[in-house]
């Protein structure tokens, strides 16, 4: 239980750092560390496949994408944030922490129990047989993402030609 709390606290602390740090590259790296914590939590919850995806894709690929974007937009990219944003965050955070602690338990008691019993079979069977349409949708989403990125950068080249 103590290890779980430490891991979850690390996850929240690095997520907060990712939001509050002024340097965007440091913020992206904090986000990667938070993903690493989340991946470890997934492993401890007996979800190794989700953990592997979280660490390799989110902590790896998305961090590279963020670092690349920060590098490409580094010059004149500083945006002045409102002063109160960072100062007021601890106050709002503590207020939410208290409300969360008070309300969450009663909310959980209202969630109905799932009718199904313990799962049988392997992860592969669930993924390929029960959730086949999810995989089709995933292919569609990846294709849409690739086409969108291609379209966005092709438009830029046309602008240059003009």
């Amino acid at each position: 239980m103590i290890i779980q709390i430490l891991l979850l606290s690390g996850l929240v602390i690095f997520s907060i750092l990712a939001i509050l740090l002024k340097d965007l590259l440091k913020a992206a790296l904090s986000l990667a560390v938070a993903s690493l914590f989340l991946g470890i939590i997934f492993f401890r919850l007996d979800a190794p496949y989700a953990g592997v995806f979280e660490i390799s894709v989110v902590a790896g690929l998305i961090t590279v994408l963020f670092a690349l974007t920060v590098a490409l937009t580094r010059k004149d990219s500083e945006v002045k944030e409102a002063r109160l944003t960072r100062l007021a965050f601890p106050l709002f955070f503590v207020i939410f922490l208290i409300i969360d602690g008070l309300v969450m338990k009663s909310l959980l008691q209202q969630v109905p129990a799932l009718p199904a019993g313990p799962e049988t079979g392997s992860f592969g069977e669930v993924l390929w047989k029960s959730r086949t349409f999810d995989l089709v949708a995933q292919l569609g989403v990846i294709l849409a993402g690739v086409l969108a990125v291609l379209a966005l950068f092709r438009k830029k080249e046309e602008d240059k030609d003009e």
């Binding site: 939001i19 986000l31 974007t69 955070f93 969450m104 129990a113 799962e119």
Partner: protein, 102 residues
């Protein structure tokens, strides 16, 4: 097991709150997408923790993997958009976008 569920969802709500606070108050486009990432971490944590507690971890893992794939596509597209916006406006300030005319 109920206490464990409470613990995970408690922290998950904290992550979602942190992300929403950043979305509402910050002006830097990259920071806004970092906030979206933080919110998605909270949602992933809630999915896996609920699956683990309710003995549906295999289903929860498939849902989390689908969610991660959608997240990657979203981030790739959004960051490409941000680069294009930066090249046009020479700034990452979200307030400049309000001057766009359709």
């Amino acid at each position: 097991m109920s206490n464990l569920w409470f613990l995970y969802l408690f922290f998950s709500a904290l992550l979602i709150f942190t992300g929403i606070y950043c979305l509402l108050t910050m002006r830097n486009l990259i920071k806004l997408f970092i906030a979206v990432e933080v919110i998605s971490k909270g949602v992933s944590l809630a999915i896996i923790a609920t699956g683990a507690v309710k003995h549906s971890i295999l289903l929860a893992q498939t849902l989390a993997i689908t969610y991660i794939v959608v997240e990657v596509s979203l981030v790739a597209t959004a960051l490409a958009l941000i680069i294009n916006i930066y090249k046009k406006n020479k700034s990452l300030d979200i307030r400049l976008l309000s001057k766009l005319k359709g």
